[in-house]
């Protein structure tokens, strides 16, 4: 066991866990942040996606010992009341079916839009293909990402 001072959603948390514990289980079991989901545990589904210093990572593959002072953002930290443009777009398109994958999809999508504010269809396919939706909501996810991109202030870059 070892002590870690983690910065999650802007708050500091002191925890005492085995250094190999993936952030996924730290979040879910120790910090009671249940929004981040377990789907495969082997980086194949994206359900556990969170942001590490603003970029999407699979938290099932991120041992707590590797986090250090880097800031973690989870779905709970995106906005308090679904006001983030990506969350709004998700509601506008009524994307979810069972909803289980959607936190991971949203965390991937926000990271995509940060790096690439006006992604093409191919960009979206490429970036999002690590996130499985077993219910098959892929078309709506793509539409929602495009809507969120339009809502963003950045102008599309001329290619």
């Amino acid at each position: 066991m070892a002590k870690y001072n983690l910065k999650v959603n802007g708050k500091n948390h002191l925890i005492d866990v085995d250094p190999s514990t993936p952030m996924l289980w730290v979040l879910r079991d120790h910090l009671n942040l249940q929004g981040t989901k377990y789907g495969c545990g082997v980086a194949m589904c994206g359900a556990c996606t969170v942001h590490l210093n603003g970029s999407a990572v699979r938290s099932c593959q991120l041992p707590v010992s590797a986090v250090g002072k880097q800031a973690i953002t989870t779905i709970e930290g995106l906005s308090a009341n679904a006001t983030h443009p990506v969350q709004k777009a998700w509601i506008e398109h009524d994307v979810a079916q069972c909803g289980y994958c959607q936190a991971g999809q949203i965390m991937s999508a926000t990271s995509l839009l940060k790096d690439n504010p006006h992604p093409s269809d191919e960009d979206i396919d490429g970036y999002m293909s690590g996130n499985i939706c077993r219910c098959g909501t892929y078309l709506r996810i793509k539409e929602a990402i495009k809507t969120a991109a339009k809502a963003s202030k950045t102008q599309p870059q001329k290619k």
């Binding site: 993936p22 929004g35 989901k37 082997v42 069972c98 994958c101 936190a103 979206i124 077993r134 098959g136």
Partner: protein, 750 residues
């Protein structure tokens, strides 16, 4: 809340009112009044009390309308669509409606089954009647208060009013309404006046989902809860011989390792009480990661289980079956099926004289289709919370059929049903998997033995290799054509491990004079169960692909041939026992032909395939446009036509059809679970291929046949025909027919 004993409700009076202690009206209603005698679900011999009260509407004095959704939610959006039906007849503003999931109670709520594309279909009438009755009681309360005739009280969006200028919110009259007798024979709205139904409403849990609220079973936790996992045998046909947990028990956070029997010898299994492995090796600890890690340190010896005797009850009566002990591999599974197909089968239906028709045929087309086991792979792996003491049991988690598991649970725990509470969380997918409560029994037994609240968790690997799978199927179709290329005979013989897929009374039965359907089964120790549109998901692939070949041999357009046969079935059906309504089937094909622009030349390079199918009680068809992309088949766009009667929540319905299309493309091209010496060869998403973003079509255009038929269900019907349409598009794209699913794998073999 002042609730009468629901047990006293008679079967006939399906609506009952009572007062809320806090002021207001509560109306309870049953759902079995929605059954027609012919409905399959009615054959399940549900206990008497399940016919009683199943749902509630509350109208509080502060004008909030709370509707309890009795059925568990797994993405089919019942938490939104069922309350919409109440709101329609109650005449309220959707804004004021709060929806809550009921807990499970066989006595109070009925079976609460989600599956079989039944929820909206079964609740449609009872929910409308409940809404209409509540509205009328509120009107009566207003009429009495104002001293005006009932007929003069009108409602609009939750407001009662009278021409004299008097008006009141529903909430103000709710307490008084609770004292009024429930009316009988209310007039329901004419469908043309629908104001809520047929108008898209957003998912009532949409905001909770996008903000990551703890909605799912895996999110359920209580203080002091322990995590439990089961170390199951690595192969079907093995059982636990011995184990050494000394290393495991030294690992941090580990509380205990023990064995449990799922069922005692001779236990009478109900229809949904599956048994995959009976001796469970269980590990219990503080946190998920600790248990996962420590489990790896278990030293376990397994041995061959040999043949096992199961005592089954439920449909089919009490009987003993022998589950063979052999360790199956995919290659010998196929050989076994080929061998078995040569033996005599059970005749399921025979019309006319098929033997003579085939003898006289000038051309016989014969094709064999195969499909593998499929794992459900709900994205939320199997899990359940249980806290069982000597006196009572609380269970919470994702479950499609709480009503079917509770009687078994009661026997296993030796507790009366009223000491068992099952709470239903939102499910991260179901697809039939969660109709089988085995994991809930496991959780309950573990909690009882561990004397602690526990969460049983399957890892993804457990979920995939310890499943209740879609069976492995095969079917041979034969068509006899005469010298004029007229279809004079049709023969299907289907079998599977361990279930025969044939639906003998479905199309094209009824459309061909000489028809024969046969089936056979091979018992197996691989546990199987319902998978989104059971059996149909295979039949639609085989039959719809076969009809395409028949059409080609006859020199006919595939849609034209289907319509020709369906018109025969409509005007002059063969036999009486045809499951489908040919008129609705025709309607779907005609709509599909029109919307997809079928038959018009296209220069896009895409090749088209079509298929349509009837299952459950609805009709669906798709035109699939395919290209080859980087050497792989890619479905670029899809046109879908569906007749499911009245569409309650159109946008959510479109979402569901789109999802079924994506699911169907994925499973037909990639889905497979294979075995080696009894062990599943796929263990996680690195080798079980699930369709991904870049493989989903760019466009799926969904059209519904517009009619006023009471809803007939939507979760499953659009799924099966996708397989057939993909097979047919693949032929047009590659010039070659593929007969073995998954097609993307079959393509690499030839």
């Amino acid at each position: 809340m002042n609730m009468e004993n629901p047990k006293t409700y008679s079967r006939r009076s399906f609506l009952k009112s009572s007062a809320l202690t806090s002021g207001g009206l509560m109306l309870s209603f049953t759902w079995l009044s929605g059954f027609r005698p012919a409905d399959k679900m009615a054959e399940l011999n549900l206990p008497e009390q399940w016919n009683q009260v199943t749902g509630y509407i509350q109208i509080t004095s502060d004008n909030m309308i709370k509707i309890f959704c009795p059925n568990p939610e797994f993405g089919q959006n019942v938490m939104t669509s069922l309350p919409m039906i109440v709101a329609e007849e109650l005449d309220i503003d959707w804004k004021n409606v709060v929806v809550e999931m009921s807990t499970h109670d066989n006595v109070k709520f009925g079976s609460q089954f989600t599956g079989g594309s039944n929820s909206v279909r079964m609740y449609w009438k009872p929910l409308r009647e409940a809404g209409a009755a509540a509205r009328q009681m509120l009107c009566q309360a207003a009429a009495d208060t104002w001293g005006v005739p009932l007929a003069e009280v009108t409602t609009k969006a939750g407001i009662l009013s009278h021409s004299s200028g008097k008006s009141a919110k529903y909430g103000e009259m709710a307490s008084k309404a609770a004292t009024i007798a429930v009316p009988k024979g209310m007039k329901l709205k004419d469908p043309k006046d629908f104001a809520v139904v047929r108008n898209s409403k957003k998912n009532v849990e949409g905001e909770k989902i996008v903000t990551g609220k703890p909605l799912f079973g895996l999110d359920y936790r209580v203080d002091g809860m322990l995590i439990a996992m089961i170390q199951h045998p690595p192969a079907f046909g093995l059982k636990l011989k011995s184990f050494d947990a000394s290393q495991t028990l030294k690992m941090p956070g580990i509380k205990d390792v023990f064995t449990l029997k799922l069922y005692e010898d001779g236990f009478q299994q109900g229809g949904f009480d599956t048994r995959t492995f009976n001796d469970l090796l269980v590990i219990v600890g503080n946190t998920t990661w600790e248990v996962m890690n420590a489990r790896k340190k278990l030293k376990v010896e397994w041995e061959q289980a040999g043949d096992v005797k199961d005592t089954l009850t439920g449909r089919g009566g009490k009987r003993e079956v022998i589950i063979p002990g052999r360790l199956e591999s995919s290659s010998n599974q196929l050989e076994m099926m080929q061998e078995r197909a040569k033996q005599p089968s059970t005749v399921l239906r025979k019309d006319g004289d098929p033997e003579t028709a085939f003898k006289n045929a000038s051309q016989i087309i014969e094709r064999t289709y195969n499909a593998p086991f499929l794992a459900h792979n709900c994205l939320e792996p199997i899990n359940f919370f249980a806290h069982v003491t000597d006196e009572e049991a609380l269970l919470a988690g994702p479950l499609q059929a709480p009503g079917w598991t509770e009687p078994t649970l009661s026997k296993l725990l030796n507790l009366p049903a009223d000491k068992i509470e099952i709470q239903m969380t939102r499910m991260g997918g179901g697809f039939g998997r969660r109709a089988y409560g085995q994991y809930l029994y496991e959780a309950a037994l573990i909690s009882k033995k561990a004397k602690a609240p526990i969460k049983l968790m399957y890892t993804r690997e457990d979920d995939m290799t310890y499943g209740i799978y879609r069976p492995m199927y095969t079917a041979t179709y034969r068509a006899a054509l005469d010298a004029n290329k007229k279809l004079i005979g049709f023969h299907v013989i289907g079998g599977g491990i361990p279930e025969n897929p044939v639906h003998a009374n479905r199309f094209p039965a009824g459309a061909i004079d000489n028809y024969l359907a046969e089936g056979w089964e091979i018992p197996s120790n691989i546990t199987i169960g319902a998978f989104r549109a059971p059996r149909s998901n295979f039949n639609a692939a085989a039959e719809q692909s076969f009809l395409d070949e028949v059409a080609e041999a006859m020199g006919k357009d595939p849609i034209a041939l289907r319509l020709e046969l369906l018109n025969r079935a409509k005007d002059n059906p063969v036999g009486k026992n045809n499951d489908y309504d040919a008129k609705r089937y025709i309607g779907v094909l005609e709509l599909l032909r029109e919307k997809s622009g079928w038959g018009k030349p296209e220069n896009s390079g895409r090749k088209r395939g079509v298929a349509a199918y009837f299952c459950h009680a609805s009709y669906a068809g798709h035109v699939v446009d395919m290209v080859m992309r980087d050497g792989q088949p890619y479905v670029e766009q899809v046109f879908s036509a569906v007749d499911c009667g009245v569409v309650v929540n159109p946008d959510a319905a479109i979402n569901m059809v789109q999802g079924a299309v994506v699911d169907g493309i994925g499973n037909s091209l990639y889905g497979a679970l294979t075995h080696k010496d009894g062990a599943p060869e796929q263990t996680n998403f690195h080798n079980y291929r699930i369709i991904r973003h870049n493989e989903a079509p760019k466009k799926i255009e969904v059209h519904f046949v517009e009619n006023d038929i009471d809803p007939t269900g939507l979760g499953e019907p659009p799924f099966p025909p996708v397989f057939g349409a993909v097979a047919n598009a693949l032929y047009k794209t590659t010039g070659k027919r593929y007969y073995n699913q998954p097609f993307a794998v079959d393509m690499t073999k030839s």
